[in-house]
């Protein structure tokens, strides 16, 4: 899982390529938009569902765009990240974040499956209990993923030079 630690590597990663960087920024933007609209759906839309419809529609569109972008971007990011991550804890937390994202997106996609089928002319929907479970998973995976993303962005993935030197001496 963790790549062999390159002892001579005490410098931070080289700057990301501009395209990759723009994609990640767009993903961040969409993630925040989804979090905001999702919280509205969870906490406020229940007061008046008729006005919540537009927020739900926006949430669905953003969610689909986020899923597509993440799917294309994540593979390269994981590969380069694994190469450059020097801290096993960071690597594990990142895998955990990825797991939470998969859970979040899978829950969301499963919730939109009846919509897709309806638009395709088939009427089918989850049982009430399954809907409750999917909503629960989607909500809490989103909360955990938000915390995970902040941790992912804030935590160092490189080691300080003095730590590396000590390890090298040992």
């Amino acid at each position: 899982m963790t790549a062999p630690l390159p002892l001579e590597s005490t410098v931070r990663n080289a700057p990301a390529a501009p395209t990759k960087s723009r994609t990640s920024l767009l993903i961040s933007l969409l993630f925040a938009g989804l979090m905001g609209s999702g919280l509205h759906l969870e906490l406020l839309a229940g007061r008046n569902w008729n006005s919540g419809e537009i927020v739900l529609f926006v949430h669905l569109c953003l969610g689909l765009a986020f899923t597509v972008l993440l799917a294309f971007w994540i593979d390269r990011h994981v590969r380069s990240g694994l190469r450059s991550s020097q801290r096993p804890a960071f690597t594990w937390l990142s895998w955990l974040l990825l797991g939470k994202c998969v859970l979040l997106l899978l829950g969301g996609l499963l919730m939109t499956l009846p919509v897709a089928l309806y638009l395709g002319g088939v009427i089918w929907f989850w049982s009430f209990e399954t809907t409750d479970l999917l909503t629960f998973v989607h909500l809490w995976a989103a909360c955990l993923a938000s915390i995970g993303l902040l941790a992912h962005l804030l935590l160092r993935h490189w080691r300080h030079a003095h730590t590396t030197d000590k390890e090298a001496q040992a």
């Binding site: 993630f31 938009g33 759906l41 569902w49 309806y118 638009l119 409750d132």
Partner: protein, 516 residues
């Protein structure tokens, strides 16, 4: 600080702020929400002949106690037809569609009875809000129960007790009855498109009345609001309150009420007769689910032998049904109705003797399976009688009480009959359900309470040369309406067939046979 965070933080903040901004903008730019529903003043020519309530507020639905949560009338086009609900809830629609609830407002027998009543009074149509509040709540709440029809009809209004009429209830008063329901039908429904409902089904169910509705509609209180009917001077000539239907109280004060066996448990069980038998065997477990079939006692509305007369009596086809499917659903529901009726009653010979040239015997008529009196409901029409025949060893009839004339549709007037009678101000019996001129309610024989019995004694003269053993045939019959009602109100040549609830044959020597 880590460069990735520095780069992403503004975008995360921007996304969050943008989404909040978008929602606030949508909220601000949205046209000012108008109070859902229609103001009383906006219904042209709406008549209020009964005046305001004690606080001076108008009573647009009086003499029905039905009301909306926000006090406004409903906009018919915003009320979903059951056919629209069926797009997703097909199973529930198929269960509900053949039920009496679905045709409560269009059943021709009911419609004709209302028309006859309306003609009895200057404000007859407005007085009919009393009937329509339970039978056609959509009509009443939209303001169509008015001598001047200024509101357009909609599918939902023709569907009697359609989906939203139950699934938006927020309050019920089962003791007051007369439709004492409060419906959040203006405020408690969503207007989401189907894809959006499918994307957020939990919130769709939240919109439909939330927890207070779900708890209420699962309770007997909810049913009691309509299955309790009291007459007073608002809708009749009664000078004191007359109890016409007391189904809720009968249940509440019974073993069933004390053991939390509710209306829904029996009448909404997937197989009501099987559930009643389960209860009779002492197993009080709840049904595995509640079906929307509302199986009751009106077997006539499922009698497919009536052919096209049945479609006529049921008021035609509901929106969303084909003739073939309608027939198929009615047959299924009819089977369940007949089985439920047969699970309700029993007969038992308690005593017989021959003395002084007289045969004396007593029959116990038992309420074995109904959680309310037998019969219950509109029992000036729905009635029950006992037929007994005593035969000699050669099969000759020696005594016959309770015979039914199948050609004229008349019952032996000397039969033992369980029925209530409407009486006018002069004390004369009203056989055809004329509520608006009823002054008093009396009972020929009151209904048999749950788990109770009524002991009926007979005495028949016996000739000295009668050859035994004597055979006693007993049948308990049930009929949903009197023949006078069919002739006077429907004005059609239809003999309302009786239904055999229970039968038993006894050899007065000891060999007995009972059914069902």
């Amino acid at each position: 600080m880590k460069s990735q965070f520095k780069k992403n933080a503004p975008w995360l903040a921007l996304g969050l702020l943008a989404s909040i901004g978008l929602m606030l903008a949508a909220e601000w730019l949205r046209p000012q929400a108008v109070e859902p529903g229609v103001d009383l003043a906006d219904i042209p020519f709406y008549q209020l002949p009964f005046g305001p309530d004690a606080e001076g507020n108008p009573r647009p639905f009086w003499p029905s106690r039905l009301k909306t949560e926000n006090g406004r009338l409903i906009e018919p086009k915003t009320i979903q037809s059951a056919a629209a609900c069926a797009e997703c809830h097909q199973r529930e629609f198929d269960e509900w569609a053949p039920s009496l609830h679905a045709i409560a407002g269009r059943d021709v027998i009911y419609e004709k009875a209302v028309e006859v009543n309306e003609d009895l009074h200057r404000n007859g149509i407005e007085k009919a809000r009393f009937c329509e509040g339970c039978h056609a709540p959509g009509e009443v709440l939209a303001g169509r129960t008015n001598r001047f029809k200024s509101v357009m009809p909609s599918d939902a209004e023709t569907e009697g007790l359609t989906c939203v009429m139950c699934h938006t209830a927020t309050h019920a008063d089962p003791v007051e009855g007369n439709g004492a329901l409060t419906l959040a039908v203006n405020t408690g429904v969503d207007q989401l498109s189907n894809p959006m409902i499918l994307a957020a089904p939990r919130d769709h169910s939240r919109a439909f009345g939330a927890t207070q509705t779900n708890d209420l509609i699962a309770s007997a209180d909810f049913c009691g609001a309509c299955h309790t009917e009291n007459y007073d001077s608002s809708m009749s000539k009664a000078v004191s309150r007359q109890h016409v239907q007391s189904t809720f109280v009968e249940w509440r004060d019974s073993w069933y009420g004390r053991n939390d066996v509710t209306c829904q448990d029996c009448h909404m069980a997937p197989d009501p007769a099987a559930y009643v038998r389960q209860i009779r065997d002492g197993n009080l477990a709840k049904p595995e689910r509640y079906a929307h079939n509302f199986v009751g006692s009106n077997y006539l509305m499922f009698d497919t032998a009536l052919g096209s007369n049945l479609t006529y009596l049921r008021g035609g086809l509901l929106p969303g049904l084909t003739e073939t499917k309608n027939t198929q659903l009615i047959e299924r529901q009819g089977q369940a109705t007949r089985e439920l009726l047969r699970a309700a009653a029993g007969l038992e010979l308690r005593h017989s003797e021959v003395a002084d040239g007289q045969l004396r015997f007593s029959i116990a008529v038992q309420n074995l399976g109904a959680g309310h009196n037998l019969p219950t409901g509109v029992i000036d029409q729905k009635h029950m009688w006992l037929e007994v025949i005593v035969r000699d060893a050669d099969g000759n009839s020696l005594y016959h009480s309770g015979a039914f004339d199948g050609v004229r549709g008349e019952t032996d007037p000397d039969a033992v009959i369980w029925r209530e009678d409407f009486r006018d101000a002069e004390g004369k019996r009203i056989p055809d359900h004329l509520t608006f001129i009823t002054a008093e309610i009396t009972h020929l024989r009151p209904g048999i309470p749950p788990k109770g019995e009524d002991l009926v004694s007979y005495q028949a003269p016996l000739a000295a040369d009668v050859r035994g053993p004597l055979i006693l045939e007993t049948r308990l019959w049930y009929r949903v309406a009197t023949q006078e009602f069919a002739y006077n109100t429907l004005k059609i040549d239809l003999v309302i067939p009786p239904f055999e609830l229970a039968a038993a044959t006894y050899s007065l020597n000891g060999a007995n046979e009972t059914r069902p």
